[in-house]
């Protein structure tokens, strides 16, 4: 199976900040979005079991290749990085258009994407990509398996899961229940150095008439401020269990929560 995995380099969680331009500061150390690693792992397992190859597709500044190399070291075959100065500050609508256009230039049976991202947290792009490409869309996957030339997905529901079937090609969004991502092996890390990261600019993609990118974003940040401080919390220690329990109950009463 030929699988394309959408991966997003994100600022290391806990280190994210906004730049002076109000955009996510991409100069801090980047990692692969946590949710994307789960679907990459699922993709690698699928091709290990049934043959095929895994292509990474990413939209990011050209300098951010470390996370892509790490994903290649995990076992992906190659990477396509859509990178263009005009894309800085793109909204989710633009990102959707760009990723769909890039996918039109690739051959695949399955597109996998992680649930939301740790930086902007949108979680709306993959559904848009599937809709633009006219492909079946299956989200919240806890299990993905090939079946009768199509794909079967177990999708998390409020009280369990739904079993979904679709034909290929299809777009599937996965969750952490797909299983822990592997660590790159030393051999994988060495091998990744020579793997191809093809850089594509906006001009390389066949986009629609409506312009995309930061200058044409559908949304705008208007203000940012630090959150109201919680106030310094109270700390209690060296109490016996009953006294600790009493301290908690007193606090709940004080906060009118009990």
């Amino acid at each position: 199976m030929r699988i394309v995995v959408l991966v997003k380099p994100v600022p290391d969680p806990g280190e994210e900040r906004l730049g002076d331009d109000g955009r996510v500061d991409r100069s801090v150390a980047a990692v692969i979005n946590g949710n994307d690693e789960y679907v990459l792992e699922a993709a690698l397992k699928l091709v290990e079991a049934g043959g095929g190859e895994v292509t990474l597709l990413s939209m990011a500044p050209a300098g951010i290749t470390d996370p892509i190399r790490k994903a290649l070291a995990m076992g992906a075959t190659r990477a396509v990085l859509v990178s263009d100065p005009a894309l800085a500050g793109s909204c989710s609508w633009s990102t959707t258009q760009v990723l769909a256009a890039a996918l039109r230039t690739l051959e695949f049976d399955l597109v996998l994407a992680g649930a939301d991202t740790s930086d902007s947290g949108g979680g709306v792009v993959a559904a848009g990509v599937a809709t633009l490409l006219g492909l079946p869309y299956l989200s919240s996957a806890r299990r993905i398996e090939p079946r009768d030339g199509g794909v079967r997905v177990e999708r998390l529901s409020a009280g369990g899961y739904d079993v979904l079937d679709a034909t290929l090609p299809a777009v599937v969004v996965g969750t952490q229940l797909l299983g822990e991502p592997r660590y790159p092996s030393l051999r994988g890390i060495m091998g990744a150095r020579s793997k191809e990261i093809a850089i594509r600019s906006l001009a390389d993609l066949g986009l629609g008439e409506r312009p995309v990118g930061g200058a044409h974003a559908t949304t705008a940040l208007l203000a940012a401020r630090p959150p109201a401080a919680r106030g310094s919390g109270r700390v209690v220690r060296d109490l016996d269990p009953a006294a600790a329990a009493a301290a908690i109950i007193d606090f709940l009463v004080e906060r009118r929560a009990l």
Partner: protein
């Protein structure tokens, strides 16, 4: 021209409107009042009547779209195709759509974003109407708390249309004095999205109190030590009328189902009280719970990061404190 505001409801497996949809309806109604625009509820389901009637207790006008043909398909594609059809058939297409920020809500928003060619603002914590500025026209001002709440932002749409996804528990649902009207509306020219078939619906979890709607959450992390440790937390949750939550470490260890996971790859909650036992407070967990009104943490490690954002931090062994707290609560209840 000033397009209206549509609130797209979500219907649960039993045919009821979700609580978050009533919150979205309340937020949408307030937006409409501030902007002087019409607000319409949209409920799409195989059997929409009951959910539409609930929506009408919050909105003056609700359109119910019957879609029995969608019963064996994932709801998002069915809803998005019909909302898009309603929008293209409407005399005046909606300017803004408000939905709940749930897995289905995100899917519907992503689909409608390309079908209607409009932007999306996700994870709204507050919603208000704002006047035009240099960079945006008059329109919704959407408050968000990205990066684990380390920053609060206000955003708007650069055009005069957009989709807003509202987080759970940010708005108190407020019914109208007198319910609005429900009109059943054929959606018109529906272009179905590519077929995905629901082969089977499997129930695996007893539907206990949902952590997203609970006023009190008793959460456990790695420090709980094992599945048995959660038995004590369940008892506490029962005594406090709350629900049990967990960190990813506890879920990954198989001590408690994924449905209980709070944090970046789990659920986002905003309870009145968050009681954390053996939770270190890693950023990935914090993003899902920092909006709780009161945070109480019990941890053996005095340097655990959660100490920095707890209102009460108890340095103690939870194995001793949990039974003591349960006993004290039982004594209070009598």
């Amino acid at each position: 021209m000033a397009g209206g505001i549509w609130v797209v409801g979500e219907v649960d497996a039993t045919g009821s409107l979700t609580k978050l949809s009533t919150e979205a309806a309340t937020a949408g109604r307030a937006l409409g009042e501030a902007a002087g625009r019409e607000v319409t509820g949209i409920v799409v389901a195989a059997e929409p009547d009951r959910a539409a009637a609930t929506m009408a207790t919050f909105l003056p006008a609700v359109l119910a779209v019957r879609a029995p043909e969608g019963a064996d398909r994932p709801a998002a594609a069915v809803v998005a195709a019909r909302v898009a059809a309603l929008a293209s058939a409407a005399k005046e297409p909606p300017a803004y759509l408000v939905l709940g920020a749930t897995p289905d809500g995100r899917d519907v928003a992503g689909m409608l974003s390309v079908l209607l060619e409009i932007g999306v603002l996700v994870n709204a914590t507050e919603l208000a109407w704002g006047e035009a500025t240099e960079s945006v026209p008059a329109g919704p001002r959407v408050e968000m708390q990205p990066f684990g709440g380390r920053v609060k932002t206000s955003s708007g749409f650069t055009g005069e249309r957009g989709i807003i996804l509202l987080r759970p528990n940010m708005v108190a649902a407020d019914p109208l004095a007198a319910p609005g009207s429900v009109e059943e509306r054929p959606p018109g020219n529906v272009v179905e999205l590519p077929l995905v078939q629901v082969v089977e619906r499997v129930a695996t979890e007893a539907s206990g109190a949902s952590i997203e709607e609970a006023r009190v959450i008793v959460a456990g992390g790695r420090g709980v030590g094992g599945p048995d440790g959660f038995t004590g937390l369940r008892e506490l949750a029962g005594l406090l009328g709350g629900a049990v939550g967990a960190t990813r470490a506890a879920v990954d260890a198989g001590w408690i189902p994924y449905a209980s996971q709070i944090g970046q790859t789990g659920k986002t909650v905003k309870p009145a009280v968050y009681l954390a036992f053996g939770v270190s407070g890693a950023i990935q967990h914090k993003v899902g719970m920092h909006a709780a009104e009161t945070i109480i943490a019990v941890n053996r490690d005095p340097d655990a990061p959660i100490a920095e954002f707890s209102d009460l931090f108890v340095v103690a062994d939870l194995a001793a404190v949990v039974p003591a707290l349960a006993a004290a609560l039982r004594a209070r209840i009598g």
